[in-house]
């Protein structure tokens, strides 16, 4: 008997041996770090030690030759700004797509004209100033003198002209952008000198500066380094097969090609494993400085890893392996993250999503079934549906009470509603038909003559069929909150005698059904800051949301889709949008938006509201500074948080890995 234990040990010894061997093999060691201790990194330094060293070694021109004549001074008029920082450090973060889209929202914002961080207007970017001709048919942009790409080559008006030439010739999948067309005619671009870009339009076109400032994707399109890209262009390089832009398109990807010069604060240094490991390093020619005229960014490097699994993202953040992360925390995990702050590894700053409906319930104005279409176009029907939504229950169950029940709107912080009058109008919009009142809803349906019911108590349509609404709902694995909300809404509608049927098509199909107008009821989260450039939630200008068929008609110039009936709300909305595009005065443009919202209140709702304004938590690691306390992380178009100059963030030396 006494031999039994040793035998067990012998039996499991191979396991122990393997594990022990593997653990024993692990030894210390690491990457060699460049010694920069001879160069200052504090406030006395005007540039990063790693650059100062290269200047001293003659491998880089001095700072004065790298900065433009009048560099852009980063603004920091927000709470949470702690002051100018020290140079150095590596910012660790993660991304969820190989296109590093969520990074580009942070460090991919280098537009000619910028959105202000508070989303209340525009400010200069690469262009120092801009002015319109009085009739709005020409826009002149004045670039900063001495701007340089990240390889030191001058950034000039020729780069923009090159981009536009590609568009006009339809090369490399580029076409004239929608904002440069007036009545279908593209603009003409002239570049009288290196720093002047003149755009001439076929008619008044007042919204161009807003488009130039939009998100990262617009400036990513027009910031093409001509001097580098021409080597892949068949018209400039005879070695390239004529008409073949495959290589050109590939080399033009800023998130994949480290050789492509950029205007970003950090340039791409390495992109491995198809984007699973991305390393960015400071752009030595970056054109933005701080108050003390010290070159930005403060942080040397950014490491962004692609982490597809949400639970792993959570673990990495909780463990303090992420220095700062925007758009990374799922609201449902908030309690866990707040609890984790006790570890002291990070703080949470509560930003706002500003979403106006999560989700907005889309009611297809051109529903495929003619009887239902007739019902839907009667505003009483849509109002009854809106009154049948138990928003409080949805908030408590789907969102754990973190949102606010309200009617569907765009973002409350939008500049259209900044004034006194705007505020009042917005309040009215958001509370219109936002109560849960089945009695009222039933009265409205009865008024419409939908009084006959079948044996199961469901209402009958005029043609004798049961009143059935098929609702496209996001599947639970895609978005649990929207899925829950769908179930709660269906319950309310059934109690009104409407047979609501839940349908959960796979992701792409659901959105295709919206775009092609095949759905009756569907859902989509709703947020927008600027209706001038992204009008679709209010104006039926594109094949999207609640108006796919009419939107199609409008965007194709009347060749496809269904035209609006003259005098109906959609027709009136589109006429207002046409006027906005031709209106010079900003205040009047806002006023036109107010008129449109008035139509939404009087004739709507067109999108049914549920709950709104989920928080958008930002994770800020220990020793990471200058992240604004409040901000907007909802709609992408106004470019937050890139518009807050994240190149001003800096890290404590002891917090650096």
């Amino acid at each position: 008997m006494h031999r039994r234990w040793p035998r067990v040990l012998i039996a499991i010894s191979p396991v122990v041996a393997i594990v022990a061997l593997l653990i024993a093999l692990a030894g210390p060691g690491g990457e060699r770090v460049e010694d920069l201790s001879a160069w200052p990194s504090g406030l006395e330094a005007n540039e990063a030690p790693m650059l100062a060293k290269r200047v001293a070694e003659g491998r880089l021109p001095p700072l004065s030759q790298r900065l433009p004549e009048r560099p852009l001074v980063a603004r920091h008029d927000y709470a949470g700004y702690e002051g100018p920082g020290r140079y150095g450090g590596t910012w660790r973060r993660f991304d969820t797509s190989p296109q590093i889209a969520s990074w580009k929202m942070v460090g991919g914002y280098a537009p000619l004209i910028r959105w202000r961080f508070d989303c209340q207007g525009l400010e200069p970017g690469l262009a120092e100033s801009w002015e319109y001709k009085d009739d709005g048919t020409a826009l002149t942009l004045h670039l900063r003198k001495g701007l340089k790409w990240s390889d030191g080559h001058p950034y000039t008006s020729a780069d923009f002209a090159f981009f536009y030439e590609l568009c006009l010739r339809n090369e490399a999948q580029l076409i004239p952008p929608v904002w440069c067309l007036v009545g279908g005619k593209p603009m003409a671009v002239e570049t009288p000198d290196e720093t002047t870009i003149v755009m001439k339009f076929a008619g008044p076109n007042w919204l161009v500066p807003l488009w130039l400032a939009t998100g990262f994707w617009e400036n990513e399109k027009y910031n093409i380094p001509k001097h580098y890209m021409v080597q892949f262009h068949p018209r400039y390089n005879p070695a390239v097969t004529a008409g073949d832009f495959t290589e050109f398109s590939r080399k033009n990807l800023p998130h994949q090609n480290p050789d492509r010069p950029t205007m970003w604060p950090w340039r791409l240094k390495e992109c491995r494993d198809g984007g699973y490991y991305v390393l960015l390093e400071r752009n030595p020619y970056y054109y933005v400085v701080d108050d003390l005229h010290r070159q930005l960014p403060y942080i040397d490097r950014v490491v962004s890893k692609l982490i597809p699994d949400q639970q792993v993202q959570v673990l990495k953040m909780l463990a303090g392996e992420i220095d700062c992360q925007y758009r990374g925390i799922q609201v449902m995990d908030l309690a866990l993250f707040l609890k984790g702050t006790r570890s002291g590894r990070y703080r949470i700053k509560m930003w706002e999503s500003t979403n106006g409906a999560e989700p907005g319930i889309l009611v297809n104005w051109s529903a495929p079934d003619p009887v239902l279409r007739g019902l839907i176009r009667d505003r009483r029907f849509r109002r009854a549906l809106a009154l049948g939504i138990d928003r409080e229950k949805g908030n408590q169950i789907a969102w754990r009470g973190m949102c606010t029940p309200q009617g569907s709107t765009i973002s409350e912080e939008s500049w259209h509603f900044a004034g006194e009058e705007g505020r009042r109008l917005f309040e009215e919009w958001k509370s219109a038909f936002a109560e849960y009142n089945l009695d009222k809803a039933n009265t409205l349906l009865d008024e419409m003559g939908l009084t006959r019911r079948d044996a199961e108590g469901y209402r009958l349509r005029r043609d004798g069929e049961r009143l059935t609404l098929v609702m496209d709902v996001t599947d639970a694995s895609g978005n649990r909150m929207e899925n829950d909300m769908g179930l709660i809404i269906a319950e309310g509608w059934r109690r009104m005698g409407i047979d609501a049927i839940i349908y959960t098509p796979p992701g792409a199909e659901r959105s295709l059904r919206i775009t092609l107008g095949k759905y009756t009821i569907s859902m989509h989260s709703q947020a927008e800051m600027d209706l001038f450039t992204y009008p679709d939630w209010v104006f039926p200008a594109m094949a999207k949301y609640w108006h796919p068929k009419v939107g199609r008609w409008y965007e194709t110039g009347g060749t496809e889709g269904d035209p609006p009936t003259p005098g109906d709300p959609l027709d009136r909305l589109l006429k207002i949008y046409d006027r906005i595009k031709k209106e010079k005065e900003l205040a009047k443009r806002h006023e036109l938006v107010h008129q449109a919202v008035r139509i939404h209140i009087d004739e709507g709702p067109f999108v049914l509201g549920t709950v709104a304004r989920s928080p958008a938590p930002v994770l800020v690691g220990r020793g990471f500074h200058n992240v604004p306390d409040k901000g907007i992380l909802g709609p992408w178009a106004p470019a937050g948080p890139g518009s807050s100059y994240p190149e001003q963030c800096w890290m404590d030396p002891e917090a650096r890995q």
């Binding site: 039996a11 594990v19 709609p635």
Partner: protein, 329 residues
């Protein structure tokens, strides 16, 4: 033997063709193609302008997505045979440039798990059989049933949570941060091994438990046979009887199972890699399937199939080598 191997290799070709056709079609069964998904993603993130539709049409042309499916299939499979796997839409790169490193890590984990499960299961199975119905046998039986019934991804998740609670480090990836970007060195290799044992053990656990039960059962069968009684009667040492006479016979089914356990190990490795964020083909394949990134996902499925077929062949050869009775049939 050689003609047997050649025959098996030739049989693999129609099998692979069938696999390729079925996977190519199934990946694209949902309505819409990759670019529809892409548009949806763009819209959800930042809305889209009217130009997007035109741009997407041009991309569709460039990727050949506007051609009928059989034309695309023919092009792809012809390229595949010559080593050109096509282009991944999502990563905007040649599939070739994406998968080889990852395949290597996948094979490494799969082989590691195989070795691990056999190295653990055989001794424990023998021990369990020779101590039938003793408390230690019951304990091992209990553990192996638990091991068999726990899905690998759950073990991986639990391990992650445990490691995080206990040591405050997330088990993630195959390298520590400082080595991630470093060139290959002994230290980096050691770092890799330090991370590698976790997925190896996790993936191996299910297989180990099952193999242990099989080893135990077989050995018990063999131990009851007359030639064992004879061996004991000859006065051989008990250890010689068990190891030299009984185990040699009882181990044969384990070798033929080798081929069958490969699919489990490969898919286990894929799932565990997704959870642990390992740079293997698993996460790539999952995303490829979700996004209808058809050339990427199709190529990966083909590579998996090739691995399986080769693995099965090797297992059969190993069995023939180990068991003369099969060789001479």
């Amino acid at each position: 033997m050689i003609s047997y191997i050649i025959r098996r290799a030739l049989l693999a070709i129609p099998t692979l063709l069938m696999v390729s056709i079925i996977s190519f079609v199934i990946i694209q069964l949902p309505e819409g193609d990759y670019l529809d998904r892409e548009i949806q993603r763009l819209q959800e993130q930042y809305g889209s302008d009217a130009g997007a539709a035109v741009r997407v049409e041009q991309l569709r042309e460039r990727y050949g997505l506007n051609q009928p499916m059989h034309v695309r299939y023919a092009k792809w499979i012809w390229g595949f045979a010559r080593g050109d796997f096509g282009e991944s839409f999502e990563y905007e790169q040649e599939v070739n440039s994406l998968i080889w490193d990852r395949l290597a890590y996948t094979v490494m984990i799969a082989l590691g798990s195989l070795v691990f499960s056999y190295a653990v299961a055989i001794p424990l199975g023998i021990y369990s059989a020779t101590h039938q119905y003793k408390w230690s046998d019951h304990l091992l039986t209990f553990i192996s049933f638990v091991g068999m019934s726990l899905p690998a991804f759950l073990v991986a998740l639990a391990l992650m949570v445990f490691a995080f609670r206990a040591f405050g480090v997330p088990l993630y990836g195959l390298f520590s941060d400082q080595y991630e970007n470093a060139p290959w060195s002994w230290a980096k290799l050691a770092d890799l091994l330090k991370h590698l044992w976790i997925p190896v053990v996790v993936v191996g656990i299910n297989g180990t438990a099952g193999l242990m039960r099989i080893m135990r059962g077989n050995l018990l069968d063999v131990l009851g046979q007359p030639f064992i009684v004879t061996a004991r009667a000859k006065g051989l040492k008990e250890s010689t009887v068990v190891v030299k006479h009984a185990v040699r016979i009882a181990i044969n089914p384990l070798i033929s199972i080798l081929g069958m356990s490969l699919p489990g190990i490969l898919s286990g490795a894929a799932m565990v890699s997704i959870v642990l964020g390992l740079p293997t083909v698993g996460p790539l394949l999952l995303r490829g399937l979700l996004n209808e990134d058809v050339y990427l996902a199709g190529s990966l499925i083909m590579m998996f199939s090739v691995l399986l077929i080769v693995g099965n062949l090797l297992a059969d050869i190993a069995l023939a080598w180990a068991d003369p009775r099969i060789r001479y049939e």
